[in-house]
């Protein structure tokens, strides 16, 4: 027997908010992403100039050299608003939690070959500081960027990087102990192989143009570091050498980097397509930071891959360049 449940049908006067309707081509039903993102940031009639940056209004498109006719052309292909974001991440953290449990309860950390454990501690643990720096950079964009279209996902990226820094910390505690974290920090601060990367990260901290910082952090640094470390070295190389347990502990980073690359690509594609001047600026930034990040990653590749480092770096760089070409940035 078919049950026909009805609620009383009354006709709504409108489908969505006026500013959303203006953006989606008329008064139609709008998604939660659209209603939660479009035009949320004030754009005019500001009362006081910020004491901490009086050259600009509180929200000001002039804080970057790029120009956008419509700052909400920056859309998130994942359509993450807060609810969708935390629910997605909760699923991922559940998987990560299970992985950590599995490795711990089955003694897989102890079962790692000594050289693999040592390499992991040397290579992975200092990256918690890179992740923290990446979180800071995304917080900069979240604070000073223009329009919720781009500042919202950068807020999420900032918290993701903090999460990654914490996953790496947990991996360190699982594979070793708090002392290992201290060793890693010393390495980050003084070992030769980490200095070029630390310098890159610190230079980003003082990069004034927030879109340049977006390019440097989310497209260049993450675009090269994550494939190198998590795919080439951990998922491929270490796993083959008996280090699958490490890949389990870094699964979040592997998946996250693929997801965010799609988002980051979509932003620069839109910005480049907007104007020749944007394209020139962005390509300039891509090249500038690529030329600093690749040499900074080389010592890390050598640590893990020895003689194969050159080849692997070239492969990662080649794939990155191909990816960018698809976004309109042939360097």
């Amino acid at each position: 027997m078919q049950m026909d449940l009805r609620t009383v049908a009354i006709t709504p006067k409108r489908q969505t908010f006026a500013h959303v309707a203006r953006r989606i081509g008329g008064d139609k039903p709008a998604s939660r992403y659209q209603e939660g993102t479009f035009d949320l940031q004030s754009t005019g009639n500001f009362h006081y100039k910020p004491l901490w940056d009086p050259e600009f209004d509180h929200f000001d498109p002039a804080r970057t050299a790029i120009h956008m006719n419509d700052w909400y052309a920056f859309r998130d292909p994942r359509q993450f608003y807060y609810g969708a974001y935390v629910i997605a991440r909760a699923k991922q953290q559940d998987v990560a939690e299970n992985a950590f449990d599995f490795v711990e309860t089955r003694g897989l950390a102890a079962a790692l070959p000594d050289d693999i454990r040592a390499l992991t501690l040397n290579l992975l643990l200092p990256l918690r500081h890179v992740a923290w720096g990446s979180s800071m950079n995304n917080a900069t964009i979240a604070a000073y960027g223009y329009g919720a279209g781009i500042t919202q996902p950068c807020t999420f990226a900032s918290m993701d990087q903090l999460g990654i820094a914490q996953f790496i910390t947990r991996a360190g505690l699982l594979l070793a102990d708090p002392a290992a974290l201290d060793v890693a920090k010393s390495a980050w601060l003084s070992d030769d192989c980490w200095q070029p990367l630390r310098r890159v990260v610190e230079d980003m901290f003082v990069t004034a143009d927030w879109f340049e910082l977006f390019v440097a952090q989310n497209v260049v640094l993450d675009g090269l570091l994550y494939p190198l470390i998590y795919r080439t070295i951990i998922d491929d190389d270490l796993t083959m050498r008996g280090g699958a347990a490490v890949a389990m502990l870094t699964q979040f980073q592997s998946e996250w980097s693929v997801e965010t690359a799609k988002w980051a690509d979509a932003q620069i594609k839109v910005a480049i397509a907007e104007s020749a001047s944007n394209a020139e600026l962005i390509k300039g930034w891509l090249a500038k930071w690529r030329d600093r990040v690749i040499p900074a990653l080389m010592p890390l590749a050598e640590l893990a891959l020895g003689a194969r480092a050159d080849g692997s770096i070239a492969e990662v760089a080649g794939q990155w360049a191909a990816r960018l070409a698809k976004q309109g940035a042939k360097l």
């Binding site: 609620t7 009383v8 009354i10 709504p12 006067k13 409108r14 969505t16 908010f17 006026a18 500013h19 939660r32 209603e35 939660g36 035009d39 949320l40 940031q41 004030s42 754009t43 005019g44 009639n45 500001f46 009362h47 006081y48 910020p50 004491l51 901490w52 509180h58 807060y82 935390v86 629910i87 991440r89 909760a90 991922q92 953290q93 003694g107 950390a109 500081h129 992740a131 923290w132 979180s135 917080a139 979240a142 604070a143 500042t151 807020t155 900032s158 918290m159 993701d160 903090l162 820094a165 914490q166 996953f167 910390t169 708090p178 974290l181 601060l189 310098r199 610190e202 230079d203 901290f205």
Partner: protein
């Protein structure tokens, strides 16, 4: 290597330290002052950021887990509410005007707060406070969006909400909450967190949220009530951050005490002025009332904050002196405000109305020393005019306080029949204030407050006409032009009685109850 030895289990505090402050480092390729250029100019001295005690010790994985659970529950209820026309179960359609106040005046502040906390989450030198601020930034985005989503369904059926973004940027009455928040975000990071993290989110938060949430619960608005409770759980973390920041500043250097005291004084005053809207909402706009503003003040300020300020006494902090005036205004505030919004009802995006006889009796009982003496006669007179078909409405626009931007309807504390006005001169211009406290805040930073875009001035200067308007043209109607600029739907203005909202609600509710 023997890793089978049981590892010493780290405590929560130790683990959390490794997960947060352990991540940072003293930069050397760039100077720390260049990496953190904004956290010393206010004169607050921090000698040891390591002394920071983390408030809630929530790592990101736990954050995602617990917040996801809250979101699933919240949206399930928002969806159910929408699917079953939950808006028709509210006590009375007048209630929906409090929802309009919420989306227009409060939701955009959540967004401002989100950006403000991202800013200080980048600028404080200490990693611990930065992490807590970043988490708050994320929470505030949650609040902005869950409010927009929960209220989206109301927007589909009722007027006055569709243009909430444009209105927040330009509508006169909404510049009151907006300028309040912008004052904070334009200030330095330590003042921002004192103003918002402490004064607003700790001292005054319950005075905002309890009326709205309880009001929703009492009036059958399950959607808003659910949102309210769900958001408040984040507020518990925010309050703890606010309190920790105050303690931290006060403990780091005795020189910080007078600066913090000055900010507490300023922001208690600015905050209470903004709460005029909430007082009015509680006493006049909830068909099923929860408690009076006066009662809420007693519980949520006098009792609660009594404990707080007693705790802060050991640092040399005292209760802000403005509290004396707030106490004197307590029994007048909502009545003055409602009178103002009633008179100016042609220019609001929510409805107003005159209190019924029963409602006036409630107000008499709650305000035995003021309502019958000073306010009932006003409402009864206006009711008489309405009955005669000559409803009273202000013809002109009110003078606004240069600081709080509220129309200057406040009376002298202790002299309820004398309008309060203060004046200052600065650089050849005269400025007007509703009170000595607003004037004193101005005195401290005149260069800041002379920038304010006082709405009535903007209108008179012709800055609120649609682009391309010719004010010299024959038959030019400035009021209509301003209405057009503001995108103010005439159907959303004016008296609730006779409104589309009233008619629609009655018709729709009738549909759910009859069998025609």
């Amino acid at each position: 290597m023997d890793l089978q030895v049981a590892k010493k289990k780290l405590g929560l505090k130790e683990r959390y330290a490794l997960m947060t402050r352990g991540l940072g480092w003293e930069t050397t390729y760039q100077k720390m002052d260049d990496v953190f250029p904004m956290d010393t100019f206010e004169g607050i001295k921090i000698h040891d950021w390591e002394a920071w005690e983390d408030p809630f010790r929530l790592t990101m994985d736990s954050y995602w887990k617990y917040q996801a659970e809250k979101e699933r529950k919240l949206y399930a209820i928002v969806d159910a509410f929408a699917q079953n026309n939950g808006h028709l179960t509210v006590s009375d359609a007048r209630y929906i005007n409090t929802v309009k106040l919420f989306i227009n005046a409060l939701a955009p502040l959540e967004y401002q707060s989100h950006r403000g906390f991202a800013h200080i989450g980048r600028q404080f030198r200490g990693v611990g406070p930065r992490v807590a601020c970043l988490m708050q930034s994320l929470d505030e985005l949650r609040h902005a969006q869950t409010q927009v989503h929960a209220i989206s369904n109301y927007n589909r059926y009722y007027n006055g909400m569709a243009e909430f973004r444009h209105h927040f940027d330009y509508m006169p009455y909404l510049q009151v909450p907006r300028s309040f928040f912008e004052d904070a975000t334009a200030a330095g990071p330590f003042e921002f967190i004192t103003a918002i993290g402490f004064s607003f989110e700790y001292v005054l938060t319950n005075l905002v949220f309890v009326p709205f949430i309880s009001g929703a619960a009492y009036n059958g608005d399950m959607g808003a009530m659910t949102f309210g409770f769900s958001a408040q759980s984040d507020e518990a973390r925010h309050m703890t951050l606010g309190l920790e920041v105050i303690k931290f500043m006060l403990e780091q250097d005795p020189g910080n005490v007078p600066i913090v005291q000055k900010w507490l004084n300023k922001w208690t005053w600015r905050g209470v002025r903004v709460l005029t809207l909430v007082a009015m909402m509680q006493d006049y706009m909830l068909p099923k009332r929860v408690m009076s503003w006066a009662e809420a003040w007693e519980i949520y300020f006098e009792e609660n904050c009594g404990a707080l300020f007693r705790d802060l006494e050991r640092y040399g902090i005292t209760m802000p002196p403005c509290v004396e005036q707030v106490r004197k205004e307590r029994d007048h505030l909502s009545h003055m405000a409602w009178s103002q919004f009633y008179q100016g009802r042609g220019t609001n995006d929510f409805h107003t109305w005159l209190p019924s006889a029963e409602e006036m009796d409630w107000l008499s009982a709650k305000y035995p020393e003021t309502f019958d003496q000073y306010y009932r006669p006003r409402f009864e007179y206006w009711a008489k005019l309405e009955a005669e078909g000559k409803p009273f409405e202000s013809a002109g626009m009110p003078m606004q306080c240069q600081l709080c931007q509220i129309p200057m309807f406040f009376t002298e504390p202790g002299e309820p029949l004398v309008l309060a006005q203060r004046h200052r001169h600065h650089d050849g211009e005269q400025y007007h204030f509703c009170s000595e406290y607003c004037a004193e805040i101005f005195d401290d930073e005149p260069e800041k407050y002379i920038q304010a875009k006082i709405p009535v001035h903007q209108i008179y200067q012709g800055k609120q006409f649609p682009e391309g308007t010719d004010p010299t043209a024959e038959g030019f109607d400035p009021a209509a032009a301003v209405g057009a600029f503001l995108r103010l739907d005439p159907a959303s203005t004016g008296n609730f009685v006779g409104s589309q909202d009233e008619a629609n609600f009655n018709m729709w509710r009738g549909l759910t109850r009859s069998n025609d």
